[in-house]
Symmetry: C2
Subunit: 228 residues, 2 copies
């Protein structure tokens, strides 16, 4: 297993994001243009061309002059693993170190480059093999498989948005009991009515039931999927 430089890994991930279909659907072979990559990485197009050649020569990209790039099987594999590392570290930072979900990206960007299979595996176990990161993005498993459901934390919703409850972040008994009590469970449909910035609590309407106010902590532990 050849090991990539940080720059190579960064390019690979950027290309992955550009070529991977948003919705999580199949579709595979999409292509990314030199300019798009340059824009995504904030570098000159000429620098990108250099790197594309290097990554292609390592068998990670299909590259033909003036024709854009697509990922090879191997490239896709490595990129997926990078995404895995990134999302696991983000989960760690939020769940274990108490960072807020919007503060972790840059740090995870650094941590994801640490080279150690065993570290990632142990981190995964330590976090209880999470399937979604704090932003609701699915975390690929060691073989690259990931859930396709696109969920976000309740706290990510803006007033007016409707959603359905699809999961919890931490499944402590006390939290589940609380959800039970306030009539929130998997499949419950709700709409955010108002959000109070001073303490992060929210007022949400549960379809067919009365409105309730939930604390910031609850908002940070409840996964929902937007409905329209």
């Amino acid at each position: 297993m050849e090991t990539l430089t940080q720059a190579e890994e960064n390019y690979l991930k950027a290309i992955y994001k550009l070529t991977e279909p948003e919705g999580g659907m199949a579709a595979g072979g999409k292509t990314a243009s030199t300019n798009a990559i340059a824009a995504a990485m904030n570098t000159a197009a000429a620098s990108v061309t250099d790197m594309l050649k290097r990554l292609a020569s390592k068998g990670l990209l299909h590259y033909e002059k003036h024709r854009g790039v697509a990922m090879t099987e191997r490239g896709h594999e490595l990129a997926t693993n990078l995404v895995r590392r990134h999302r696991l570290w983000e989960s760690f930072l939020v769940q274990k170190l108490g960072f807020s979900w919007d503060a972790v990206h840059d740090i995870a960007e650094q941590l994801e480059h640490v080279q150690s299979e065993e570290l990632v595996e142990r981190l995964d176990v330590f976090l209880d093999r999470p399937t979604y990161d704090p932003h609701g993005d699915p975390i690929p498993d060691a073989k690259g498989r990931m859930a396709s459901r696109k969920q976000v934390l309740l706290s990510a919703l803006a007033p007016g948005e409707k959603a359905v409850v699809v999961g919890v972040q931490e499944s402590q008994a006390s939290f589940l009991q609380y959800l039970d009590r306030v009539q929130l469970s998997l499949g419950t449909e709700l709409q955010v009515m108002e959000r109070f910035d001073y303490d992060g609590s929210m007022r949400v309407a549960i379809i067919d039931k009365e409105e309730i106010t939930v604390s910031h902590k609850v908002c940070e532990n409840l996964f929902v999927q937007r409905t329209k």
Copy 2:
């Protein structure tokens, strides 16, 4: 606060180790030779000279041609912080992820370069502000102060060595109860009689009491200080 490259940080730490007196005593201004640094870092002496100039120009080293280097106040500060990061990460890897103490160095070597003051602070809190790492080396606090006591794990002792118990690695009730039971407590003096490689257990003589055999696990959780 200027930020260093990973290579710069590695040199700085290597020089710190060479100039810092082993015993933890004061003494400050020791000097390191180009060759010694090259040996420590496994690089050509010429490369070291280059780097010394660079670090000197950044105000981290006192450097005069053919005269070796010493750390400046600022350099010392940064190096101490690096050591702090390294030891905190080692503690994390052992205590939280369950790595064995001899497997964590290389990974911590990578983690220590992650740039984020807040990350280090939160990690420190998460680990409960430990003062010693899994190898018994003291962890500097955020201001660079650290304990000077040089303790090692019981497992680090060779047969014949004498030592006094100074602490435990993990202070779980069950472990403390066990220590009580076998008459080992802070301040107990002992001598290693024999060590069994096949399971890592040891036979130790407790001064004024009878000999006991302790398991590998115990050896890995008991800090002692060598006496002569």
